[in-house]
């Protein structure tokens, strides 16, 4: 069973988003980290890079797999979690406490395309 937190928004590619004003904090879900196994590297964009909804912004790698990250929102990267450079395994230990990037959204209405916790729970059940 994967943990799903109330109050976050979710994408079909298993990223979570928390919005605070115009800033979106983005990470990967518990389901995503479990299916990857031990994460050994997180490829993150630099600050000031632009990201677009549903487009690749980086990747997470385990020893024997790699998975692209898709941005759930569009905007400009205003923060990257540099703790993951040294300790990518943080995503395994708590994927919700350890975000990946923060984005200043250019179109906050895009979050309407995302799922809430209940919808994501149903989505995962349907996938299984």
């Amino acid at each position: 069973m994967s943990r799903i937190l109330e109050g976050l928004l979710y994408s079909e590619s298993h990223e979570w988003v928390k919005t605070d004003g115009g800033i979106a904090t983005v990470g990967i879900t518990d389901f995503a980290q479990k299916s990857m196994g031990n994460i050994v590297y997180v490829d993150m964009p630099e600050e000031d890079d632009e990201v677009s909804q549903d487009e690749e912004f980086g990747a997470v790698e385990s020893v024997k797999a790699a998975s692209d990250l898709y941005s759930p929102v569009s905007g400009v990267v205003v923060g990257r979690n540099s703790a993951l450079d040294d300790e990518p395994g943080l995503l395994n230990s708590d994927p919700y406490a350890n975000w990946i990037i923060k984005v200043r959204m250019t179109d906050p209405s895009e979050t309407g395309n995302l799922m809430d916790a209940a919808a994501y729970t149903a989505f995962l059940e349907k996938q299984a």
Binding site: N38, V40, Y41, S62, V63, K64, P88, G89
Partner: protein, 487 residues
């Protein structure tokens, strides 16, 4: 095998030397170069005596397993015996001393080998022309795809930018396509592991450059619908590429050219017995039909009117893909192999390899899960143990095999199954060797029931056991750390 822990840098002592060169009696020395061009910091290369160098690398070699050490059933890799005469001919000083840019008149012997080998490969594959320049299988794939694209472009058909690749394909197929600027479209395999022609047909439109296929495929199964596939792809204006990774199954028996393939590569280090060398050098010659021959990379060896060989390049050539003309030393080995076998023995390579694979498969299928029950070609795939309840994984089985003195099969490939174990025994293994392997595999299956912990902690007899790959990838240490703080 004995664990030996040194690195060459740890044997280094200032003032030792392992080299032997004449004294310098020239007047000019590099000291006179302007300081701006001179190196500032000395490279920290080891300073070691010659005997210490020899012993170090012999000790390291003792931690390696090769075909000459024991049975190496690595699926898709065709680990057959590497004949020693190949090593002798390829190290003949009459060839090793030749500079690649020497005038053609001074390298006729080398050029004849190149031409004759191309001819042999044409005859064995049913193709019309070969370039021997590609350095490896993946390099051959890339070269072959370049031929495919160049063909369409040269006809003004610039919309064909997609290539169809089965989901069971070797990972290099989609990667080569991407490097070649082609978009990959995946076609699914059926539950029987082969291409479903009905799934393929809707994908075939005028944006498709061609299809890449391995036949037999990565499950070791012959694509029986090959005629239908070939005519459908050709009718849609596409070309068929044959990934020769599995050619050993067919050598002497079936020719890709006769199956309708337009372009193919061979892995000389698989099918033609040249040693794998721990990962290379190999060779990946590319063969094409007569219609595509003018597109092959330059340089090429052709016959001059006087019967001599010359080095040329077609004006329509796709370009150059190698500095010179491939891994010549590897070509000499493959040429030697073909001469040794001759036209009759070479007919037995495919059949004997297929015999060995079916024998091992049939001897183990009651204790390992065989997902597709059918005749296989040179290799086959189990999906873990027949009893999936023991918790023993394919990795455990592979590691335990090392304890029994065998190299492990290819594992977790193809991706179609979760516990793939891909076994390729080759035609150079005796029945006794195969029986010993079968025996070990059966013992392991029994151990999985009686003592699964023994397998989960295997191997027990190798110099090192289950290296921590997560640590290696999280905090990469990719070179020797000289002293403290000099990482």
């Amino acid at each position: 095998m004995k664990y030996y822990d040194k690195l060459i840098f740890e044997l280094s002592r200032k003032g030792r030397k392992g080299w032997s060169l004449p004294e310098n009696t020239w007047e000019n020395t590099p000291e006179e170069l302007p300081d701006t061009l001179k190196r500032c910091q000395d490279p920290r290369l080891p300073e070691v005596s010659e005997p210490d160098v020899v012993r170090h690398y012999v000790n390291l070699s003792n931690m390696n397993f090769g075909v000459d050490t024991g049975f190496y059933p690595l699926g898709s890799c065709t680990m057959k015996y590497n004949p020693k005469i190949n090593e002798e001919t390829s190290s003949h000083p009459g060839f090793t001393s030749l500079h690649p840019l020497q005038p053609a008149s001074t390298v006729q012997g080398a050029l004849r080998i190149y031409r004759e080998l191309s001819g042999f490969l044409c005859s064995l594959t049913g193709m019309s022309a070969f370039t021997l320049n590609p350095f490896a299988g993946a390099h051959g794939e890339l070269t072959g795809l370049m031929v495919m694209r160049q063909y369409h472009i040269s006809r003004g058909d610039t919309r064909r930018t997609k290539v169809i690749v089965p989901d069971s394909a070797h990972g290099t197929n989609p990667a080569s396509a991407a490097v070649c600027g082609l978009e990959v479209v995946e076609v699914k395999s059926t539950s029987q592991g082969v291409i479903d022609i009905e799934d393929l047909k809707p994908l075939l439109d005028d944006t498709v450059a061609g299809i890449m296929m391995t036949n037999p495929n990565t499950l070791g199964l012959f694509e029986t619908e090959i005629h239908g596939i070939a005519s459908a792809v050709h009718a849609a204006g596409g070309l068929l590429y044959y990934d020769g990774a599995n050619m050993n199954a067919l050598l002497g028996k079936v020719r890709p050219g006769d199956m309708g393939f337009d372009i193919m590569h061979l892995n000389l280090h698989k099918t033609f017995s040249t040693p794998h060398g721990g990962g290379g050098p190999g060779a990946g010659p590319v063969g094409v039909t007569a219609e595509l021959a003018h597109l092959l990379p330059a340089p090429a060896v052709t016959a001059a009117p006087d019967g001599c060989c010359e080095v040329t390049g077609s004006p329509d050539s796709l370009g150059r893909i190698s500095g010179f003309m491939g891994n010549f030393g590897v070509l000499v080995r493959a040429y030697t192999y073909i001469l040794m076998l001759g036209k009759e023995n070479i007919r037995k390579v495919g059949p004997y390899s297929v015999l060995a694979a079916n024998y091992v498969k049939e001897s183990l299928k009651d204790v390992y899960r065989l997902p597709v029950q059918s005749l296989c070609k040179h290799e086959f795939v189990f999906d873990g143990l027949a009893d999936s309840g023991t918790g023993v994984t394919t990795l455990d089985i592979a590691k335990r095999l090392l304890d029994y003195g065998f190299h492990a099969p290819t594992i977790y490939f193809p991706l179609l199954f979760h516990q793939s174990i891909m076994i390729e025994p080759t035609e150079t293994e005796s029945k006794e060797t195969l029986d010993a392997f079968i025996d070990a595999m059966r013992k392991i299956a029994a151990e999985a029931e009686s003592d699964p912990e023994l397998l989960k902690s295997a191997p027990h007899s190798t110099p090192v056991r289950r290296p921590d790959e997560t640590l290696a990838a999280t905090h990469p240490v990719l070179g020797y750390r000289f002293g403290e703080g000099t990482e």
